[in-house]
Symmetry: C2
């Protein structure tokens, strides 16, 4: 591991930035070390110093993505006034990804799932699990504070919310149409108000 200062944006981190964008657009199997090297202005061989293999790079990408996502959830928990506002902020997290013309990293990896290295598969599952846990707690809070209405187990509804948002991103992207995502998201929110 290269030694780095705390706040510095070292090469290893810049590699992740570039690879992250490529992976969220093309998926894990459709970008190469050459793509990253060209964009970063170093050689392919140098990349192997920071990430010995593509599997390690892929794992590092999911780990950082999941950590940042967790931090965003913590921010929402801190800032939003009630459960409904938290859910709106959560939906907006997804919209933000699409606005950058990207797909949710774990959504695109779910499509490639059977072709992924084992370690990456586990991390994808972990991402979904964490999201569903957070959403289930949110739903319980929304039931308690009266800002969210639903029937059935919170865990099942949480699965449904995650599925709907991932699917809305997936289908919206070929159309390049934010409104398509917004329509599905609006419908989702409406269903939790009734």
């Amino acid at each position: 591991m290269p030694v780095r200062n705390r706040k510095e944006s070292g090469t290893a981190e810049r590699v992740l930035d570039i690879a992250e964008r490529l992976m969220q657009i093309r998926g894990f199997n459709n970008f190469s070390y050459a793509d990253i090297a060209t964009e970063l202005g170093i050689t392919k061989a140098s990349l192997h110093y920071h990430y010995p293999g593509k599997a390690e790079l892929g794992q590092a990408l999911i780990t950082r993505y999941t950590r940042r996502f967790s931090e965003a959830l913590a921010d929402i928990d801190r800032d939003a006034p009630d459960a409904r506002a938290k859910l709106e902020a959560y939906v907006d997290l997804y919209a933000g990804v699409l606005r950058n013309e990207r797909m949710c990293m774990c959504g695109i990896l779910a499509a490639e799932y059977p072709t992924l290295p084992d370690a990456m598969q586990s991390e994808v599952i972990g991402f979904f699990d964490e999201n569903q846990r957070w959403l289930a707690e949110l739903l319980k809070a929304g039931d308690a504070d009266g800002t969210l209405k639903f029937t059935g187990r919170p865990e099942d509804v949480a699965q449904g919310i995650l599925s709907t948002l991932e699917g809305a991103m997936l289908v919206a992207r070929p159309y390049g149409d934010l409104a398509r995502f917004a329509a599905a998201a609006g419908q989702l929110m409406a269903g939790l108000t009734t």
Copy 2:
């Protein structure tokens, strides 16, 4: 083009059968002519006689898939007694795909969308368009016959239904868990009853 009898399962058709399964599991960029050739027991070179390039093969796969899907929709229109029953049959189409441990072909292609040949991109869009058209008509019928309740434009709700089902398949597959899909689908149906 090879000459074939009407009902015969010629080599070209068997190639599609094998490639279809591979594509619905791994996606377009993650199977090779070698995979098909090995499974079929012929050489890679022979495949090029039936489909000159991978782009042509990919296009043929979507075309056949979309045609069969359309036929299934026509069957539903003919057999199901009311709009709600039709929607249930539609959801069961998706569940059937997942039961075979596959993903919707166009769902998985949506994830790879930016990397696909132009002709394939158009066909993916066409598949989604046709599904949404059919669903929108279904919703209007359900509104008329009273078996489906919803608010908003039928076109938007149709988008939401398609997104939810695609997303439910996408997220359920890493878990290998049919129940996960069923939960999301059940929630979807419940939302159209209220």
